[in-house]
Symmetry: C2
Subunit: 555 residues, 2 copies
């Protein structure tokens, strides 16, 4: 039998993974990797750490070089070669050698498009000036690092509020650069709920990042050398000798489109579970394809390295005659920003509502380890569930404690279609250096269960702030001790410590709505249940209470 | 309506949790907590860290004091009171006040037995001498700590090889004490598979713990003051001015037995999912009860703080008229020993086999973070699956990297009855400080999937050692580079680097069994597949290879 000819276009994550897996499955196939870039198999996710010098050596971001693929895996690697077009009829790819400008044509039996995504460059006036950059590969990271090393950047502006924006904000602040971040809306991390995003926003501000909220770049102004010097925004003018454009990215679909490959509703390449496109023997994998969201069942385009690597395995198996499927994603995400970890899996509350779910949610602050164990830190968990069924829909977790473990437990729970009730009984590990006997995830599930069971009602910080701003006629009841109350409280609250609540209950008007609050929500919830049992009909507790209150505190 | 009278006997984890939950559910109930001890609601799991001075203040181990229960929760707390007997007919408990020796009788509507477990004291000769102790509560921890502080302990002997034994070994070594650990068998951690336990055993030996294997205490010898001075074992005599008995514990069932409460096949109190005993209105919770193993469906007694706390919630809800259930456990377990974390969930391979499962297993070493991110460390994962269905049955993970996150993901996967295939597609979080794009759990699942799919075959270190010891006629093939081979290899191996394997394949005898090995198993598995494809019929790779080889290395 003639060996299979496999061509893989793109050689970062999914492309190289596909090649390596295909080789293990089929020792005889002729495998060719084609990429416009000079490097292959590099870790884009590591670039912010290279820029901040946490990773000293840029080469360590290169996982495998072309030589490894040639010698160890017998894979032909064409770097600095651009695939110009694909002819599905004759099963041939037209390629340009970018070093020599020569054309070559290669035939394939199976083709994999692993062409990734690219940053969008918004068409701001002056966007072509020097030192207005994007971060998307090793050369762009080198460029930014050398720019910073020249020490001529005093002020930087980051356009966007997503995870690359946040990682780079940390990186720039760490290097003593006056760093601004400009966002169109009033919150960073637009795929997070506002109550959680505001906590992160307050945190990065405390770390020195200036956040220009509800603002937009109007025009860039350059110095005499043609390098960016100032930015005129909708609201102000700020100095910036370096601008990072981190607004959004788009899938690279030009080549696919030209070949007649179906583009899905999200604007990325559409594939089935086997990663086949609509054209026989053409597969697509990684950042250029859309996939199914496991909670909504809808097509989504959420490019992540984790998906790309899994895709590589699936594509590698299928193009060599095997049978593997990729069921879809939860969009699980984690990012380190200064000492905080910010993570999400499944749907946010607003995404759940948008997708037609009736939701019940909770925010619970908890210690990441036994509270008495040195180094125990706080994390803040938001759980989102379907009201009717109690099915878990998603979670967001932030804080300076161990967040990633909990988001992975929740991602696993979502994969198993767990209800909040089932989650509350999970047998998670415990010893004092790792958790509490009731892991924070389980505590959060229990608190949400009380709501789902109709035993408690609560409000989020944002809902409470809206009531305060509207001057609603309600009692905001601080049930902490006097010293706690005096050290800082929400303006306009009434103060009755929890242990005096029963004896002073007559001070409260039963006809009024009462919202209780405390330090983290535990005493507030207890007070709320006491009031409910005493016949107060309209009472709620403030979720997470002072621990998650993102607004002004009165002293 | 008259308020419910609730009596809870036992006031550590499940007892206090039951009381607190019952109070939130029923504001009017008369709740009484009874305990023989002076403290309530303390964290036994923290005592080794108190002894090693990681936790300075013993009071921080007390989570809530009786005052909190009285004032904040309106729960009556009788410390230093012993429940002598229960009369289910008249629904009364006879109690002795241990301070005054007076008797009192209390009636109940609902009773909860949360009486815990106690260490077994083996009947060795001389076991009554001074400084032969167990560790089971705050006073016993105080006793041990003060003994060590007097600096008269130069040598310590720990009897047993379970997690308290290991935690205490670390604690004693940290305080400069010559520490021996004596075990009857040839492995510590008897609920772990030997291939994993041996890695931990080698590690603690490297940390200075002397492990007396396949040995037993015969007799203790005392000094002139009646304190232990020497221990005569089956094999040797060792000095010991302090002996910790950490062999085993047993559920406290005397009170239950006397009252006619059913004891289950494990020797612990039998309860249903609602935590009801066979006697109406008597519940039992925590360390004194047996529960269902979620993988085998059988009754097990695995006392853990996590279960006790969950039991407290379930019992608290049910005794106040609600309806909650506890489905069972996986026995998920984690312990820190020096810089290693040792964890398990579900069944070990030997437990799975014992329970009638035909298993397929794998051992995979992996980095806990992106390999280029500073501080990335190694963990070693063993997965156990059912061969026929591919259902995950259990996992063991050890190493100095982040182990607890992965065991919790696997515990969640087990809760969702995931197959290895499903696990391999889990959407876990990734950023360089937290994981690799393919989390170690997913990599391990993929490697096991290759075995389940019949694409690869492998041997464990122990299986390979048995073959070597039996002088089996097989080729042990080292496929690493020459420098790697020369720096240390398994005796009797043949050496052909992976990149020379194809060209030198004629050097290998096709009729022989070939076991390949490398650094961590990746190249070995690749070599194995090359050989298989070249028509070698009996080839396997050594799982985890040198990274998990617990035996002598030849240089």
């Amino acid at each position: 039998m003639k060996p299979k000819r496999i061509i893989i276009i793109g050689a970062v994550a999914s492309g190289t993974k596909t090649a390596a897996k295909a080789r293990r499955e089929d020792p005889d196939a002729e495998i060719t990797l084609i990429t416009e870039e000079a490097e292959i198999s590099y870790a884009s996710c590591g670039t912010p750490y290279f820029i901040s010098d946490i990773i000293k050596d840029g080469n360590s971001l290169i996982i495998r070089d072309p030589d490894y693929f040639r010698k160890m895996l017998n894979v032909d690697v064409l770097t600095e070669h651009r695939a110009e077009s694909i002819d599905p009829e004759t099963k041939r790819v037209e390629i340009t050698n970018l070093k020599t400008n020569q054309s070559l044509i290669l035939g394939y039996d199976q083709l994999v498009l692993a062409v990734g995504a690219s940053p969008n460059t918004p068409d701001f006036e002056g966007v072509g000036y020097g030192n207005i950059l994007t971060l998307h590969n090793i050369p762009s990271a080198m460029h930014i690092k050398s720019l910073i090393r020249q020490k001529r950047v005093k002020n930087a502006l980051i356009v966007g509020g997503g995870f690359i924006a946040l990682e780079m904000a940390e990186s720039l602040i760490a290097q003593g650069i006056n760093t601004r971040l400009i966002i169109r809306r009033d919150q960073i991390l637009s795929n997070f709920d506002k109550d959680i995003a505001l906590l992160v926003q307050n945190y990065i501000k405390a770390k020195g990042v200036q956040v220009l909220e509800e603002d937009e770049v109007g025009e860039f102004k350059a110095d005499a050398d043609g390098n960016v010097a100032n930015v005129i925004t909708k609201k102000q003018t700020v100095p910036a000798e370096f601008v990072l454009l981190a607004t959004s990215i788009r899938p690279n679909i030009q080549l696919a489109k030209k070949a007649g490959i179906e583009i899905g509703p999200t604007g990325a390449i559409h594939v089935n579970e086997k990663l086949e496109t609509n054209i026989p023997d053409i597969y697509a994998a990684g950042d250029c394809v859309e996939t199914t969201h496991l909670i909504t069942g809808k097509s989504v385009w959420i490019p992540l390295a984790t998906t790309s690597n899994k895709h590589g395995r699936v594509a590698g198996i299928n193009i060599t005659g095997g049978n593997d499927t990729f069921p879809g994603i939860l969009g699980t995400f984690v990012v380190k920003v200064f000492d905080w970890t910010i993570a999400k899996t499944g749907l946010s509350e607003k995404e759940a509502v948008k997708n037609g779910f009736e939701t019940e949610t909770i925010i619970v602050p908890a210690n990441d380890k036994a509270h008495y164990y040195p180094g125990s830190k706080r994390i803040i968990i938001k759980l989102i569930a379907e009201k009717r069924s109690g099915l878990l829909l998603g979670a967001e977790i932030v804080g300076d404690g161990v967040v990633d473990k909990r988001i992975d437990v929740l991602a696993s729970a979502l994969a198993g279609k767990a209800t909040v009730e089932q989650l509350s009984k999970y047998d998670l590990s415990y010893a004092p250096p790792y958790s509490s006997p009731m892991d924070p995830v389980i505590t959060a599930a229990n608190v949400l269960l009380n709501k789902l069971d109709g035993k408690t009602s609560s409000l989020s910080s944002i809902e409470t702030k809206v009531k305060l701003d509207k001057m609603d006629d309600f009692i905001l009841l601080d049930v902490r001790s006097k010293p706690e109350h005096d050290s800082g409280h929400i303006e306009g609250c009434l103060h009755i410590p929890l242990n005096e609540l029963r004896s002073r209950i007559d001070e409260l008007d039963k006809s009024k709505e009462i919202v209780t609050y405390c330090g983290v929500g535990l005493r507030a919830s207890h007070a709320h249940r006491i009031l409910k049992n005493e016949g107060f009909e309209d009472t709620k507790f403030l979720e997470g209470s002072m621990a998650v209150w993102p607004y002004k505190i009165e002293k």
